[in-house]
Subunit: 401 residues, 3 copies
């Protein structure tokens, strides 16, 4: 049964937020959204979760498609997107570029319109090449906006960034939803220390979008965000600028260090995760552009050797013991490289990971709701009224007898 | 909100048409359908579009599957079929022959029944081999018909030809829906000149189903249809016969020429598009049958060389200027080979294509509705009553508050 | 229109059965279920079929996902699962391990939770490696059970075994539904002779799950089950033990022979089908584990040579003539290797297969309903009440006017 008291409280919070510019808009980067808009996403996510936990349907669409385009492998984001679409009543249709004619010289503008005649949302993952993914998403969004204005499309599909070269907003918003719930509210986050740190992984070329997304978002909430990595593992400079500006505005801080130990010391939250150096990713992008596969292999060898010099960057029990009360909240976007489990030496000790397994899964469980919230906020002018109507309609998700 | 006046006018038109033989039947070739039946498809397509534009649900199925089988890559037809199924309430299930056991010696008859226990429609694209695609579709339709009669299947899935070796009916019916709307009604098409012409493309082996479908359909409506191509690029003789007979009956004409300029002169509508010679496609089919891959490569080289002799067959601004008032309606099934954009030299000048971009996208937008109309007409004995009930039911596609 | 009399009779039968332990449980092996539970599956399958034949919707879910994971090619089981999910209102989402990050070191436990945030059912086919498939399914089920108990998952997805290394319960339960209907009721099966026999096929390595599933299930119903195969084609010993114990309890019998003729003599039901020797499958599993591909090829040659010595093991007209009145019910899970049709020499004569085509397709048609019944019984505490409510709700599957 619906917890109507909790639902109505959340609804009141939503009504106090200004999210009108999200209507008929897209979600690319968290730092392009106002504080109210981010809060609206978390609040709508909680409202949708409350509905589902109360077995109340959140189907706001009777039909319609949710298009997904994954240019990189994915399990959790793929299923999160599918779950979000299904929750709202949209059927997922994958645009599999291998099966489509996209490779045969179709322009982005054309494809975007051709797949959107009955599409309400387009979710894209395009995170592999620096300077490409976000740009591509904007090209798609511009195309459907134009198609809508020109009367080609009967509805304006909203674009949801499911990970680009710059940000991974559905991940970081889910991470933060988890933090908010763990710490009992946004108001309790001020002054909390977050260690976003690089960690060793035997693999190569993990995207930068998570560390960038984290420093670009967590600095919004008055937290003390420390970015730690070995020399040479810099992230995108522009995003560091964003983080600095955010911290100044929010009353938090953004600092950098080359010491994992320093970052972990007294941290309330730790997010140890491997990534590839920005400069190397940029170089790789160029090598791909030139079709220089020998160059790519050489770069890969070089990066793996570079990684191997930093095997001590791992989230060990010893390091965890140095965090606030030895009990910092451990975060990861998953899958993690777990020492002795998925690899010989990796990002985290098995015992640390095991202790945080349930919270980690809970962290991931917010993503479908965050995505659904982004869609709902883009498709309805008065999301609070829609959610209230869902609660009043009280259509059961699973039949009750 | 539903434009009820427009809806009721269309409904009255539908009621005047005899489309009872479409019930429990399939859609293979336009020339197997009566004039009334074709008009019924366009009218139902308009009715469904009017419903959707008015945010009224067209879900006539509460559950059920739409099976798609694509034996060639596809973006727009795949998404059109998915959109049509979703609009009516059917969930798309792809029959991916790579993942299925079809290759392991299953007969068509068996597979057709095995996938159809809960299928209401089967959409097939099989356009690559002369003499094969349409034949295959009939085998599938015969199998499910028999399965239905024998009590194996609880419902008779309707087959929709999503492109075969002979016709591309969903494309050509969408093209014509676009023409009808552009010229303000079927009654205005008599005497209009249509140039269905070959055009140069640097690629090889494009299917013949579009030019064949166009001459087989457009000659039904009293238009003067000119088929133009270089010597050696003949289409299927049987379809030319169909076009001739159609023209005689409809009071239009069907002529052939080897001059693109002649075809374009004073044309009201132009459809410049590359295709492979019928004889070459037939030869290729045989080579595939024999597994003669060297022969196929030799044929490909030969055809590309042959194509290269006709680079002047392109829809240039100069040619467009010779059409009626210099403003013929430019059609293409997309994607087009655009000179200087998707290739060095192709089917059409970039400036021509750009000018017609919106109409081209609009042309494509009719396809989901055309497919949905074909399904609806095959699945309901009294389609007008069903549509009226949808309007009266007034279930919202997207929730309104 | 719903046959309400038949429906209510079936409902009364269901109410008399004890199936409360199926709630929130999984379906791995038929012999892990009580007689009442198996009868409940057949009865619910019949109830669901009666609803659908009466054009009454069986949608018990308004939204939710059905996850399918196929580690082997499949047509009919894939479509049966999709049909079952769709019938109940769940949208199928494939976990394609090629597209996912599963290969990148994810643990089963993690993946199982990550895909299940909005999943109500997980269907798995994993039949290729001895000792692996069933074990994997249990790992998945344990993981989601734990996730549910720990508050990670809001609902407990039920696991349906779509074929493992031990059993193929959805197939064998569908086979038996077909037998029950053919013989006019479970009560008529006592003393009927069933020949589950090996048959020659030019292919290699067909799974053992069907013969094992058949002897493990059919011996439950008081039938005289004969397992026949050439020397060296033994099935899993543990399952033979199960069959023996079943027969003793049910008052039937379980015997083995190396003579196909003996098995067929006076048989009421014959199930001639190829499979690989258990010992060879075990050896192959180990070779795969060791990555010994040369060893695998050698084994394959050896097995094909071994098979070739038993081409006389085929379901010929001559053998069929020796069955009860020459009219035994011929069963097959399909696709069959048909002599002169799909291969030179195979499991069955073309004329035999042709004569039984309709019954064979009917046999297959039970699978979607059997799967749907397994899901419904696992997801609802009072399935009879749910089904009654469906009948009373009388929501039309296809709109009626």
């Amino acid at each position: 049964m619906l917890d109507r008291k909790k639902f109505d409280e959340l609804l009141a919070q939503l009504r106090a937020l200004d999210c009108k510019d999200m209507y008929q808009n897209d979600f690319f980067l968290t730092w392009e959204k106002s504080d109210d808009e981010l809060r609206a996403v978390w609040t709508v996510a909680d409202l949708l979760r409350t509905l589902r936990e109360g077995n109340v349907s959140a189907k706001v669409f009777d039909s319609g498609l949710g298009i997904s385009l994954f240019r990189d492998n994915s399990t959790r984001t793929r299923f999160s997107f599918a779950s979000a679409c299904n929750l709202l009543g949209l059927e997922v249709q994958d645009l599999d570029e291998g099966k489509s004619q996209v490779a045969h010289g179709e322009t982005v503008r054309e494809t975007a319109n051709m797949i959107s005649f009955m599409a309400d949302v387009i979710g894209i993952r395009d995170d592999m090449y620096i300077g490409k993914g976000n740009t591509y998403m904007h090209a798609v969004a511009d195309a459907v906006q134009e198609g809508y204005q020109d009367g080609i499309l009967e509805q304006r599909p909203t674009l949801v960034n499911l990970q680009c070269d710059i940000d991974h907003p559905t991940q970081c918003m889910a991470d933060m939803a988890h933090i908010i719930h763990t710490f009992g509210g946004i108001e309790n986050l001020k002054g909390k220390k977050v260690a976003m740190t690089w960690a060793y992984s035997p693999s190569y070329g993990k995207p930068l979008s998570v560390p960038q997304g984290v420093i670009g978002l967590f600095t919004r909430l008055g937290m003390d965000v420390v970015l730690a990595h070995p020399e040479g593992y810099e992230v995108m400079g522009e995003v560091e600028e964003v983080a600095r500006a955010n911290a100044e505005k929010s009353g938090g801080s953004f600092t950098k260090t080359h010491s994992m130990a320093e970052a972990f010391r007294d941290a309330d939250i730790v997010y140890p995760k491997s990534w590839a150096p920005y400069a190397a990713m940029e170089k790789r992008t160029n090598l791909y552009g030139e079709g220089d596969f020998e160059g790519i292999q050489a770069l890969e060898r070089e990066l793996l050797a570079q990684n191997a010099q930093h095997k001590d960057w791992t989230c060990s029990e010893e390091l965890m013991a140095t965090t606030k009360d030895g009990k910092a909240l451990y975060l990861h976007c998953l899958p993690a490289d777990i020492t002795g489990v998925s690899c010989e030496a990796g990002e985290v000790d098995a015992s640390v990971f095991d202790r945080y397994r349930d919270p980690l899964y809970k962290e991931a469980s917010y993503k479908p709701y965050v995505i659904a919230a982004m869609i709902l906020l883009a498709k309805f002018q008065d999301p609070a009224a829609v959610l209230e109507q869902l609660a009043n309609r009280d259509q059961k998700r699973q039949m009750e007898v």
